[in-house]
Symmetry: C2
């Protein structure tokens, strides 16, 4: 049974109503909430592996960064930290055994539209996640899809919110439907001028020899929280990990490709745009073990 905690005072400096547990299937959001009517809010998904939250502080930090990019009031990270802890603890307490993978989704919206001074909305929602062992070991098929933008557009056009993790994910979901209808599991977004961006819900890693790179985060994408943990593990295995701009044509010559995110951790790409890639089961398995042991 998933659990839901509604934040009483999600914005910093709000008068302190307490957060509270609510029924996860209860209706808890007004129809006028800008998070719903305008996708006007931000979110994070915290991975919970073997009953332990991973990378909570980087997620909270990124929530605050995304909120700032949307000119939202600063979130009260202490309120969110407590709400996440309560949601996860309640989830685990209600289960007979510790789930391999669970997640806690954190949402922070501008609140009801058209109400002067209406407070933002915040909640944490925890649930068990299906078993992803197969994708982690056997790998996934991926298609590249254009995101329509040129590289670096975010710097000159901040209103495009490139690099903010907003609730406006309709394009991300449409991309996933598009590739699934073509037999793939994931998409990699590319720029109109031939650079690699990210997957709709994950970060891209590329290995040539002992060099692993991920697209530079100043190029207009999210800084992956799991990617940072993956880099640490890969470096322990002797790989040099760096951020830089990655051209789409570099993917074709890679020795290995992965996607990484907070819930699925490291998934090898076994096929990209119809081209087969070797899956390094030993390295991938070892890194996933280390990521699972971390947190």
């Amino acid at each position: 049974m998933p659990t839901l905690v509604i934040c009483g005072a999600p914005a910093a400096g709000m008068p302190g109503a307490s957060s509270r547990l609510a029924g996860p299937d209860d209706a808890a959001i007004r129809v006028t909430d800008a998070g719903l009517t305008r996708g006007d809010g931000v979110f994070e998904t915290v991975g919970v592996h073997g009953g332990r939250m991973h990378d909570l502080e980087p997620h909270l930090e990124r929530l605050a960064q995304s909120a700032a990019m949307l000119d939202l009031p600063a979130p009260d990270l202490g309120v969110f930290r407590d709400a996440i802890a309560l949601a996860v603890r309640s989830l685990l307490d209600g289960l007979d055994e510790v789930p391999a993978t669970a997640l806690c989704k954190v949402v922070y919206t501008r609140g009801p539209e058209g109400v002067e001074g209406a407070p933002p909305t915040g909640f944490a929602f925890a649930d068990v996640y299906p078993d992803v062992t197969r994708e982690r070991t056997e790998g996934i098929a991926v298609l590249t899809l254009t995101r329509g933008y040129p590289h670096g557009i975010g710097a000159e056009a901040p209103w495009l919110l490139v690099g903010a993790k907003t609730l406006s994910y309709a394009v991300n979901m449409a991309a996933l439907r598009h590739v699934k209808a073509r037999g793939a599991q994931e998409a990699i977004f590319t720029t109109s001028d031939g650079f690699v961006l990210e997957a709709p819900r994950a970060t891209v890693l590329m290995r040539h020899g002992d060099q692993v790179v991920t697209p530079a985060v100043d190029g207009g994408l999210l800084h992956g929280t799991a990617q940072r943990a993956a880099f640490e593990a890969l470096e322990r295995h002797g790989l040099a990990c760096t951020y830089r701009d990655v051209r789409v044509d570099e993917l074709a010559t890679a020795d290995a490709l992965w996607l990484t995110d907070s819930v699925n951790l490291l998934r090898p790409i076994r096929e990209l745009d119809g081209r087969a890639y070797a899956v390094d089961a030993a390295l991938t398995g070892a890194v996933n073990e280390e990521m699972l042991a971390g947190g």
Copy 2:
């Protein structure tokens, strides 16, 4: 007091639960609704002028088109038609006098995430709208902002959902905040290769002599419902109205510019990117009168 009608069976072919009036401030949406968590849904805003709904059928038709672009189940337009009628009638019944302007917002989402076979969510929300006489008569200041895409991207990249009216409007709202912080009221989105798209919530009209044009709807934007009514009224005033691709530099030489949408109707642009434009008060006023009389 706004009114809310929750659709019992918003998708075509769903078992027929009845729609029902709900308290407009009641929480009515689950936190797992994909409309909230992913901006994964579509909407329409129907103008209600002098107590009469305008262009209801074109709005319903566009709701269905947007839903199809998102691979949502076809909405039951009869259910939405009835829900809108009930929401608007209840709004008007609760008021002492007929409001000059009101609106009914219609939302249709994919419904709760992670629940196999969960039905979509649908509702209609009616409310009074503030007086917009001043903007209609004195005009508005506007800034152009890039949308980041090249012209026609929607045809080659349908997952970008260009031309669908989705709930993922965070960029539209960020654009409006950006221009408001610079003293303007509205934005006009442009393509990366110099074509005019649309405003975040309105359609652009441009007059040179007796020719009025609006950007061609196959160029990747919404077909404005109010724009069609504006064209009819402008043609009665002897202007030839056409759809075609419009280059940004054509705006600079225009005799007049307007934005049009279902709630504000026709608003003249008195300033674009710092350049002043003449406001044709007589023509604008006459067209607004005719649009108000129509519906």
